[in-house]
């Protein structure tokens, strides 16, 4: 008894020693992993490019890097695909690196951050664009001026847009059939839209909501404001920019273009803003749409693809998403946003911003140019989870497998409505967005809240815009 107990103890002890030794050996063996010494090209003066990881597939990123190396064997490049949940996570990481003086050279920035980066961190690309004008002619000819203008700030260009998404209307064709409704015409009005929702509701059971949307800056309330011919913040254009328009765009396409947008005075209590909120509140009240949830719209794909929702605002990125969710190419289709006072649409775009702190600005510019090439984007955007900024990339071939049938709507949103513009994103965008989302949530969370909520929104917006970020 005592013996066996002793030997069990001894066994346990040797077992523990063994485990300890194994742990030490394991740690030693993985030392390079722990210190990152096994990562090729680290701290070797590479050009560092930070992208939002979820935007590109790993294969796409590999292709991006390999292609650049072939083109410029002399420039070392490293892509950090930041796996952030959303824009603010991504931003948190970049900011921390900036604070520590280890900022990347290039950062992938969407419309939300264009002016913030331009104002505090970015370098205007003007001199390189002028220098390499001949090389860029093909690019600009293929990119709608609205997208380019959205990347300008106070007369200078800060990014070359490579993707965009405009808020169009997605319709579930099965729900349309069930309601016995026709696919709407391109010039449909908001009243047509409401009538369609009523019809859909009548033809469906209780587990169905005709219109579903997410409370966010892109594709939330703002498209309805645009259709009403208004905006959250008074909108004007900065002077300048003719250096670019004159060099790359024919007279008819450069008319009215300026040096980028200025979003200034808040106008949340403007009659047309109030009217748009009243309209949405009425939809909620009549059970034609849900109260909007916050967040990045993860629910949306699932409920739309299974026919629990008939209509929702989304852009080209949804074609790929619905395909992944198992929807057939003819299960959905896309149409312009309905018209009211105007049929102006809103979009968000993205491209690479070059940071002032970069010591490799010329090399970085080469990467920007490379990233905007048609063949580069062809490798990057294979799954239709965004809309390429190059018009020529939108082909029947691209949308054959995923749908929708009316894929032309994506780019025509720019071509047919030249006043289509970016979401309002001044340098104070973070606070503006928060104020917008929070008071939109309150305005629609109970009846009769629109007026008070918009008055508070106006007050908060005024405070936010007074700040010099």
């Amino acid at each position: 008894m005592t013996d066996s107990l002793f030997s069990r103890r001894a066994l346990l002890r040797y077992g523990a020693y063994g485990a300890g030794a194994a742990a030490l050996a394991g740690t030693a063996a993985s030392w390079d992993r722990l210190t990152g010494a096994d990562i090729p090209g680290r701290d070797d003066g590479s050009l560092v490019v930070a992208t939002l990881g979820s935007a590109f597939s790993p294969a796409g990123v590999r292709a991006l890097v390999d292609g650049f190396r072939r083109l410029h064997p002399d420039i070392k490049v490293r892509v950090n695909a930041v796996q952030a949940v959303d824009w603010s996570d991504f931003f948190a990481k970049i900011l921390t690196q900036i604070a520590a003086g280890t900022a990347p050279d290039l950062v992938y920035v969407a419309t939300e951050g264009v002016q913030l980066f331009a104002r505090h961190l970015g370098v205007p690309l003007d001199r390189w664009v002028r220098r390499d004008a001949a090389e860029l002619r093909e690019y600009f000819a293929d990119v709608h001026p609205s997208l380019v203008e959205s990347m300008m700030y106070e007369g200078s260009l800060y990014q070359l847009p490579i993707e965009f998404n405009a808020a169009d209307m997605y319709l579930n064709t099965q729900v349309l059939r069930r309601a016995g409704a026709e696919f709407p015409a391109g010039d449909w009005t908001r009243d047509d839209f409401t009538a369609l929702l009523r019809r859909m509701k009548k033809a469906s059971d209780s587990h169905f909501t005709p219109y579903f949307w997410t409370n966010r800056l892109w594709g939330g309330v703002v498209p309805w404001l645009f259709a009403n011919g208004t905006n959250l913040l008074a909108e004007s254009k900065a002077p300048g920019g003719s250096w670019l328009w004159d060099a790359f765009y024919p007279a008819d396409r450069r008319r009215g273009r300026g040096g980028g947008f200025r979003w200034t005075t808040p106008q949340a209590t403007d009659d047309r803003v109030v009217e748009a909120y009243d309209y949405l509140a009425a939809l909620v009240h009549d059970g034609l749409c849900t109260r909007p949830e916050g967040g990045n719209g993860q629910n949306l794909i699932g409920v739309f693809s299974t026919g629990r929702v008939g209509v929702t605002p989304a852009g080209g990125f949804w074609a790929g998403g619905l395909h992944l969710a198992g929807m057939r190419a003819d299960g959905f289709d896309v149409q312009y946003f309905p018209r009211r006072h105007t049929q102006r649409h809103q979009f968000g775009a993205a491209g690479y911003a070059l940071l002032r702190t970069s010591k490799k600005q010329d090399a970085a510019w080469e990467f920007i140019k490379y990233s905007a090439r048609r063949d580069t984007l062809g490798k990057l955007f294979t799954t239709n989870q965004t809309t390429p900024a190059l018009r020529s990339m939108l082909t029947a071939d691209r949308y054959r497998e995923t749908g929708p049938a009316h894929w032309r709507v994506f780019y025509d949103t720019l071509d047919r409505f030249p006043d289509t513009g970016p979401i309002p994103a001044p340098p104070q965008v973070a606070e503006v967005t928060q104020v917008l989302l929070k008071h939109t949530g309150t305005a629609l969370s109970s009846p009769g809240s629109v007026g008070p909520a918009l008055r508070r929104m106006q007050g908060d917006l005024e405070k936010a815009m007074e700040r010099d970020v």
Binding site: S54, V82, A92, T96, N296, Q298, S305, G326, Q385
Partner: protein
């Protein structure tokens, strides 16, 4: 274990045993329901994911979502990184918390109370407040964008120290005193008398450290730059796709995959864990 310990006097409740078991079963179902839904949805096609009533047993089970996870992210590298980080943190915390907990519980020295207060106070500071200074400290040590940069700052653990202190306090003082009378020095008393009794307590520190750091998102997000240094929770994010366009089944399959090691540790560590927690709750 329950048999070995004296439990509360039984059958004193107005409730009969069956009512009690039924009540507990309902609670257990409510607790496990979301997990079951996650697993079963990961085995369905996205089109069926919103079916009501939810199908617990998928009508057309499919592992496609799991293939999708392996296609879209380098699961093995991410898992290796996560394992290295969590295992080393767990071991490190067991050592630091075991030693410090013992010192606070059983050794006399100056500034004991303020030092313990300091340790406890660190539990009260949200990570979001200190992350930028922490990043700067790590940078001065050359540890940014390394796995060590995640591991080393996590070695000291206020909660673990607190737990181990309670644990050692729960052991009878007489044991040490007896050893002292036999001529044992402070080290011998720790090594031969108390340390062997502390194993269940250390197990709970280890398992809790594993649970917490295996699921950790914010620190890796800020501190790790290279894709090769990402941990599993960071990798899983990309499954959500651009603007939330990823397939829900694939997202959930990723969640389920990342759950497996935590569940394994839970199963293996459950007994010591329970016993550890059991003793930590007693403050004598």
């Amino acid at each position: 274990m329950s048999q070995a310990t004296p439990t509360l006097s039984r059958a004193r409740y107005a409730l009969g045993p069956w009512a009690r078991i039924a009540g507990l079963t309902v609670c257990a179902l409510l607790t496990l329901g979301p997990v079951v839904w996650t697993v079963s949805t990961s085995l369905r096609t996205p089109a069926e994911s919103f079916d009501l009533p939810p199908q617990i047993i998928p009508a057309h089970p499919s592992a496609a979502a799991y293939h999708g996870v392996f296609e879209q992210i380098d699961v093995w590298l991410l898992a290796l990184n996560s394992t290295l980080v969590t295992a080393l943190i767990a071991v490190g915390q067991m050592i630091t918390a075991g030693l410090a907990g013992y010192a606070f519980a059983r050794l006399d020295f100056r500034f004991k109370k303020p030092l313990f207060g300091l340790v406890l106070a660190t539990m009260m500071v949200p990570l979001q407040v200190t992350i930028v200074p922490v990043f700067l400290v790590l940078k001065s040590m050359g540890l940014t964008d390394t796995l060590l940069g995640l591991i080393v700052p996590a070695f000291p653990t206020a909660f673990g120290t607190f737990l181990m202190r309670q644990y050692f306090l729960g052991m009878p003082k007489d044991l040490g005193e007896a050893a002292m009378l036999d001529g044992a020095g402070p080290w011998r008393i720790f090594r031969s008398v108390y340390a062997p009794l502390a194993r269940p307590g250390l197990a709970i520190v280890g398992v809790l450290a594993f649970n917490y750091h295996w699921n950790e998102f914010f620190r890796p997000l800020i501190l790790e730059t290279s894709g090769q240094n990402y941990t599993l929770p960071l990798g899983l994010v990309s499954l959500q796709g651009n603007l939330g366009t990823g397939s829900i089944s694939v997202v959930l399959a990723g969640v389920v995959l990342s759950m497996i090691p935590a569940v394994a540790v839970f199963v293996v560590g459950q007994r010591p864990l329970r016993e550890g927690i059991t003793s930590a709750g007693v403050n004598r």
